[in-house]
Symmetry: C2
DNA sequence: TAGATTGTTAATCGATTAACAATC
DNA sequence: TAGATTGTTAATCGATTAACAATC
């Protein structure tokens, strides 16, 4: 019997990491159980939405009680795939690349930075948080040898479009794209975009159009 | 007679900067006119959506012809509020703050970085792209004296929550928040979040759950 | 047991897509 | 004029909210 997988909407997926973050903070402050109503007040969403969202993945709560914070936190972690490690490389050792390398929380969540790549020979062999900076000609072999799943692109858009193809061919599963361009790649390569200039323009729109 | 302003949905606003980016690239490649059909093919959205989105703001096209690329680009720029300058300060002179300061495209779009603030006395008075690093005690006066509209927060979450209140009181219009927390501020302060860890978790979700 | 709160169905609301008359 | 393509209304689709029976 073939399981008919219910398709989870991207609206739900967008909210999951936020639930995870709030649950993490609840754990830190020693809260052990929470109702959808109380969580909804903190997060400024409806309790109904929380229950609907969670029930896409199964019933994690208990009638009359609410949700066990620790348990729900772990379950959402599993759903998000951060219950295991993901090997990652950063391409572009500029400020943005360095910022990602130095942000230790990613590693805590299982995103292990195995290498940093740049095209500037002057910084070849230098280290950022103990991780060696390598040149681009090593990239394809490095991806294969180190089972790299994720590539973060913090380089200009023209280079990003070109390198994206290279790393897709090398077999990475996903690209975390900070370049100000869309990447046209085969469907089996996941692309998650962080378009900072678009974010800033949305902010500007809101300034310009608020009552 | 009071104008009944039609509320623009956030889904539309999210797409506007992307239209703007594509139109900019069309201008660079010398394209002078484009139909919604052709643009839809490039952007991988429906032509119907493009026409609906644009018609929230007025009729920019011409039947039988399509849209004048330059004109539409400028009109969307006006809608996004980037037809004028916005003074900005960056709080946090770490790698992420530096990345923003050094990314010259923001300035090209009218986001003028007037100051950089940090709490590390060792870098007081140093310059990043010619802009002086100042200490936090100068912040409130600086915001008022320089008509700062936007504050980018690239500092840890605890500091971000505290400084957000300070700059809101100082009268900034909007906060571009890179800290891994939500900011609870009065409704008249606009907050645009860039939660990198949430972006990375969505990517991880997609890896874990793809067919 | 009584009260609380979930899981889930139904109702509503909003966004996207389709269709086509208007018109350049 | 004939062809192309917009602007806009109508139809569809999907997401959010409300309601409530199930149950801890």
């Amino acid at each position: 019997m073939v399981m008919e997988e219910k398709k989870i909407s991207s609206a739900v997926i967008r909210r999951l990491p936020r639930y995870y973050r709030y649950l993490g903070e609840l754990i830190e402050s020693g809260v052990q159980r929470i109702s959808s109503k109380e969580l909804s007040a903190r997060m400024k969403v409806t309790a109904s939405q929380i229950r609907q969202d969670l029930n896409n993945f199964g019933g994690f709560g208990q009638q009359g009680y609410g949700y066990n914070v620790q348990y729900l936190y772990e379950e959402i972690g599993k759903i998000l795939g951060i219950d295991r490690n993901h090997n990652m490389v950063i391409i572009g050792a500029g400020n943005l690349g360095k910022a990602i390398v130095n942000y230790s929380d990613f590693e805590k969540r299982g995103f292990v930075i195995k290498g940093i790549f740049d095209n500037n020979p002057k910084i070849k062999g230098t280290k950022i948080r103990g991780i060696e900076v390598r040149m681009m000609n090593e990239l394809t072999d490095f991806i294969k040898d180190n089972e790299i799943e994720i590539v973060a692109l913090t380089i200009p858009k023209e280079a990003a479009r070109q390198i994206a193809k290279v790393v897709a061919d090398a077999g990475v599963k996903a690209i975390w794209n900070f370049a100000h361009t869309d990447l046209n790649l085969p469907d089996d390569v996941i692309v998650e975009n962080v378009h900072l200039s678009e974010s800033l323009m949305r902010l500007s729109y809101t300034i310009a159009n608020r009552k």
